[in-house]
Symmetry: C2
Subunit: 368 residues, 2 copies
């Protein structure tokens, strides 16, 4: 069977009431679907994307060569089996791929929001998704799955809409963003803000996408350090030098430097710096226990079966952060959860690249 | 007894032949001494500083309040006991505190070296120090000690001048800089180079020291992540917010963000960006085995008693890097070495701040 990839945009005119007390209206949500919705609308799986991800989770667009970010997991016969499930992945509000974000036009002013865009939280992101699903008349789903910031959304769904999903699968994430993750985001934010080409937020997006923004490239380089692991860096780069005769040139390059440069500068061609500021802010203020007396109280609201997956060498969201969720669930006598720490050399990137380590586990979870 | 702090500068007119094949001439070395040299000149201890350190390792200058960077370790009755030893700490070539570096005047041109300064290596740094000691008629020392880049120098001394020191003590360092350390340096280098106020290296140093260079601040922020540990960040910052009512302000600040900002921008007031580029380059190309067939061959040259100290949660130079040195020494049947991994929550910073964890160990080493 085919992937049946479809992309839609829904427009919402009712106000979205945000955690900050502010209001977003009107707003759009772009989303992509794979597979076929059954008549009972009972075969839905929601996929949530990470910081720089998008609704394009699987398949290849016409005329392009790069497939969606979780293509290995979504498709006919794959872990998220499109022969069986109807998969929905939407772009979060605050992002820059079609859902309303800081670079969207602010009605009725005919100019971009920029800093007038309100701070959104992970909870706001899932609230907007929940309203999208209402529009689609989907009131209960089989599962919600995501890694990194996608895992944060999955966990927020579990707490704030306890009867919406039967199963929650959260990978490579945390219950509250820890200071090292905030610190990596800080480096990127500061690098963006201090770049004169950022023009204090009033850059021309088209010009930037062409030229790139070196401040954001620098910030992304720092981010990449947190996505890798010591082992993966040793294996991938070691101390290999691009040109050994250039060892004593001040700007000679180790392989790891070339990797960071390529990925850093390439990133600026396809991601928006204001969106980066807003989404990293959402990640920084993410804390499952906010609005509750404790993490225990927050987690006690969960009705869905909860499945936690961490990776041993994740430097961004340490595996002990996921274990803290599991330990807390145990301490409040929750039964319907599993926690698995997966041995991986890939670090945080494992949830994107080492699918073979957890795809069967996900199949098992979905099958029963 | 008093610390007997003295600061001197020696001028050298003979060429310094560098590892790259290039020549540095003339050059200055600034150094500081503590304690008193005995008549036999047999009570010398050499202290080597880290990336942003200087010859000012102990004591307080007149009119200043801040003491030298290892003040807790150097002094009367301290681990490096000035009642007994004559301590010398010199500023490395390539730095910006008085020894010749990229911002020094290039003779006879009456202008700064800037990019005309040759790439120097850790081996070049210790070669220059060895020549300084010759000038001082010191031909053999009790010990050489240093942490981080200071430890690299101590190890290079052990290999290239095997009969110069009786004891070598290297803390929080490595045998060859690993890709994650190079990656952190890369973020800083790129941030400096792309800052327009850097003026492609032709900035006015006095203006920069007053204004600061935001690119270097950003780079230093990334560096600080590598100096701390997950535990120290959790304990020091947690998720504390500077103003809780500002949680939903885009530029509201977590404590960890304030810490990075303060240290990042403050750093630009007292360190030179070209020196930062050159010294991080020296760290990146540091590899004890360069010029030898293997690390085994390099380490087999060591005659001094070698004492290796790592810290459990060091994120910059992982403790397994120090253990690799110890394991290699064992594999070639070296006997006169010790390796100790010190349990510490401070990460890389431990060698500067958690002296109580290793000062007695150093006393024991020096006493016997």
């Amino acid at each position: 069977m085919s992937l049946n990839l479809k992309t839609h945009t829904e427009h919402f005119t009712n106000p979205l009431y945000l955690e900050s007390g502010r209001i977003l209206e009107p707003y759009d949500i772009i989303y992509e679907t794979y597979g076929r919705l059954n008549d009972e609308k009972s075969n839905v799986i929601v996929v949530c994307h990470a910081l720089t991800g998008s609704h394009h989770a699987a398949g290849v667009y016409e005329g392009e060569s790069k497939s969606g970010w979780w293509d290995g997991l979504i498709g006919s016969g794959k872990a998220l089996d499109t022969d069986k499930y109807f998969i929905i992945c939407s772009n979060v509000i605050g992002s820059c791929f079609g859902s309303t974000g800081p670079i969207s036009t602010r009605h009725p002013y005919h100019e971009e929001y920029r800093y007038k865009f309100p701070v959104v939280s992970i909870k706001d992101m899932i609230k907007a998704q929940r309203i999208l699903f209402d529009r689609l008349e989907i009131y209960r789903v089989e599962a919600i799955i995501g890694g990194s910031m996608g895992g944060m959304q999955a966990l927020q769904f579990a707490i704030h809409y306890p009867n919406f999903a039967k199963k929650i699968i959260a990978l490579a994430t945390t219950h509250a963003t820890q200071p090292w993750a905030i610190a990596f985001n800080k480096v990127a934010q500061e690098a963006i803000l201090k770049d004169p080409d950022f023009k204090k937020g009033y850059y021309d997006p088209k010009v930037l996408q062409k030229q790139g923004l070196s401040g954001m490239a620098v910030g992304r380089m720092a981010g990449h350090i947190s996505f890798l692991s010591h082992k993966s860096m040793q294996e991938k780069f070691g101390r290999e030098y691009k040109r050994t005769d250039g060892l004593y040139e001040l700007f000679g390059k180790f392989q790891v430097e070339s990797y960071l440069e390529y990925n850093g500068y390439n990133f600026t061609k396809w991601f928006d710096p204001l969106a980066y500021l807003y989404i990293t802010k959402a990640i920084n203020i993410y804390d499952l226990s906010r609005g509750f007396d404790s993490l225990e109280e927050a987690l006690s609201r969960i009705n869905a079966d909860l499945h936690l997956i961490s990776f041993t060498n994740d430097l961004l969201f340490k595996n002990f952060e996921m274990k803290e969720i599991a330990d807390t669930l145990k301490s409040i006598n929750k039964k319907n959860y599993t926690y698995r720490d997966i041995e991986s050399d890939y670090g945080h990137d494992a949830f994107l690249v080492e699918l073979e380590k957890f795809e069967n586990h996900i199949k098992d979870i979905l099958n029963g």
